[in-house]
């Protein structure tokens, strides 16, 4: 059962109990809020009002909140926007990062040092909020979805992590293919990438989560609220409790006069924001422990 080394004394009963208690509390502090939010989003109006707020004990369940949200309107649209930006953005980011990580993984190649330096220097300073905004606006990207993708499309950190991983692949593996006349693109696709599934999954997760969670870029660059991604909607209707616009609550009142969305609907929006992360995470998480990140951090 236990894998304690032979020299270690067995933990005292009180110590083991205390440790178990602390660990349980820590795990609960992460899971309990999520449990309550999910439960509330699935509860009927009566159950929510009986609880006087978040529901902790399951009562009558219903999917009414989700049906209302996905009947079309602000939330449905924002989910589609977020999904689109996440999928397109991750594809671009991951593709560009993989290519560059491989392109820069051969020390001694032409321009290797200056290009690497260019990448690493971005760790030391960012251009700042205002200059960024000026650039995006002068490129005509304001109010386009590209403004949510291009400015942060390449993260030097992810590039360096990936490159470190590629560099650890021994030359012997790729040399024979090179002697047979395979192009670098072919080597990358046929030999290097299949060996790097873990690190690709992790970096892909980093990018995807970044896009899905991206909030401030949208506040900054999108004036048209019809284009809002989910995180901005979440802030507007849940954090700030503003009323959903016509068609969301069933009653067609003017925006601002309608009552704020019910708690179940608010929590359903939270769950929708949470769900993709909860879904994808377990598949990628096992790679964390395989030393992908650690290896990367240590270089």
């Amino acid at each position: 059962m236990t894998t304690l080394p032979p020299w270690a004394e067995r933990p005292s009963r009180a110590g083991a109990f205390l440790k178990g208690l602390v660990l349980t509390l820590i795990v609960a502090s992460v899971l309990f809020p999520i449990y309550m939010v999910v439960l509330t989003s699935l509860s009927t109006q009566e159950t929510v009002s009986q609880a006087g707020g978040l529901v902790t004990v399951p009562g009558e369940l219903s999917f009414a909140a989700y049906e209302e949200l996905f009947a079309g309107g602000v939330v449905t649209r924002s989910v589609l926007v977020s999904l689109g930006v996440t999928v397109v953005g991750t594809a671009i980011s991951l593709g560009v990062t993989v290519l560059a990580a491989y392109g820069l993984s051969r020390p001694g190649s032409l321009l290797h040092r200056p290009l690497l330096f260019l990448v690493l220097l971005t760790f030391l300073f960012g251009p700042g909020l205002i200059p960024n905004y000026l650039l995006v606006s002068s490129l005509g990207l304001i109010d386009t979805y590209w403004s949510l993708i291009l400015p942060g499309a390449v993260t030097a950190f992810n590039l360096v992590v990936m490159r470190a991983f590629f560099m650890n692949i021994p030359d012997e593996v790729t040399d024979s293919a090179r002697i047979d006349g395979a192009s670098e693109f072919r080597i990358l696709r046929r030999i290097v990438l299949p060996m790097s599934k873990g690190v690709t999954a992790v970096i892909g997760l980093f990018y995807a989560v970044g896009y899905w969670n991206s909030f401030f870029n949208a506040v900054l660059y999108l004036n048209d609220n019809a284009k809002w991604p989910l995180q901005v909607v979440l802030r507007q209707y849940v954090l700030q409790g503003q009323s959903l616009i016509v068609g969301q609550t069933g009653s067609s009142t003017i925006a601002g006069q309608a009552p704020p969305p019910s708690l179940a609907i608010q929590m359903a929006i939270v769950v929708i924001a949470l769900l993709p992360v909860l879904f994808v995470y377990p598949f990628v998480q096992r790679h964390f422990t395989k030393g992908v990140i650690i290896g990367a951090i240590k270089g």
Partner: protein, 340 residues
């Protein structure tokens, strides 16, 4: 490392440990370069053009969205108006910086930023270390993996989500207030209280990132030679003495490095977290340098003034990170770039 937290692009925002890899790479690069010898440019181009082509898109994006915008900082020396453009806006020299010097709200924001950094150094920084030691002591591998999986998770939630969850727990209509009222007490709203704001943001940071922060310490713990523990145990050292004399010294290099790097980032406390809560709590407690720049520029239209504040913050930040690295080298650590 000194990535501006204002830039909230989809940064793979693994925190500080990021850098440690780089210096090694640069060193490797330098060492292996000599291998290629001095081949003529044409021959190297013929050999490496594919690699260059592969690096091009990423380099292009970094140049356009990272280096070109740096030029935009010139508006800090202008009286910039978006309708006139950079080319035709009048130059005002150091006027903007001069005003900044006497602007109380700028200094308030600076003070808030530094207070938050100091508070988090004391109350956030040790948490991942303690948590890592605790996790490391869980001997059953499957249980350990399960707990790790759970505590890493909040790192992947957005700040909007985290603040929303905290509001549902500790806000005026949240679970805490609700429970208090059910038992006949007054409800409390910790989300709008400036007096407890420091504790609130620290609690949020702990909830979101302390688990993820254990990764680097767990790696350091795994690297400690297990024979040391055995020898100490055989010599009769108790569990606590082994923790004190083996575990903690084993963690020391990582702790010192991260501490120094965090000090180098003293002006960066994270933007979104404060942006989201500034209105509810009020400027006095929640205005940090990054939010100051945002509100001063994009909301009141003082572009040049905001840019000046941003530039000052960027430059001071750069100096801090360079000092931090010097100190890290002094301690015999790698820092984020190689001593040349």
């Amino acid at each position: 490392m000194l990535r501006d937290h204002v830039k909230t692009g989809p940064a793979g925002d693994l925190t500080s440990p990021a850098g440690t890899g780089i210096s090694q790479d640069v060193a490797n690069g330098a060492r292996r370069t000599s291998r290629s010898g001095r081949r003529p440019f044409g021959a190297r181009l013929r050999r490496d053009w594919q690699l260059l082509l592969m690096a091009l898109p990423a380099i292009g994006l970094l140049v356009v969205f990272h280096y070109v915008p740096l030029l935009g900082n010139v508006i800090a020396f202008q009286d910039y108006s978006p309708y006139v453009g950079i080319a035709d806006s009048p130059w005002v020299g150091l006027d903007n910086f001069h005003w900044l010097l006497f602007d109380e709200s700028f200094w308030d924001a600076t003070l808030n930023t530094l207070t938050i950094t100091a508070f988090q150094l004391v109350f956030y920084f040790p948490v991942p270390i303690l948590l890592a030691i605790l996790l490391d002591s869980v001997v059953r591998p499957r249980l350990r993996l399960f707990i790790q999986g759970i505590v890493y998770m909040p790192h992947f939630f957005s700040w909007v989500l985290v603040v929303t969850l905290f509001q549902q727990m500790f806000g005026g209509a949240g679970l805490l207030s609700q429970t208090l009222r059910d038992h006949g007490y007054q409800g409390v709203d910790l989300m709008t209280n400036p007096d407890t704001f420091l504790m609130l943001v620290t609690a949020e940071t702990i909830w979101k990132d302390a688990g993820w922060g254990t990764i680097i310490f767990l790696a350091a713990l795994a690297a400690i030679n297990q024979n040391l523990y055995e020898a100490a145990a055989v010599d009769g050292a108790s569990r606590w003495r082994r923790l004190w004399h083996i575990t903690l010294p084993g963690l020391r290099p990582v702790v010192i490095l991260l501490l120094i790097l965090r000090l180098g980032e003293a002006l960066n406390v994270g933007f979104e977290q404060f942006f989201l809560q500034r209105d509810a709590v009020g400027r006095d407690a929640a205005e940090v340098l990054d939010t100051f720049v945002y509100w001063r520029t994009l909301l009141t239209g003082e572009w040049s003034y905001g840019a000046a504040a941003g530039l000052v913050k960027g430059l001071v930040g750069l100096i801090l990170i360079l000092i931090a690295n010097k100190v890290a080298h002094r301690f015999g650590e790698q820092g984020i770039y190689k001593r040349s």
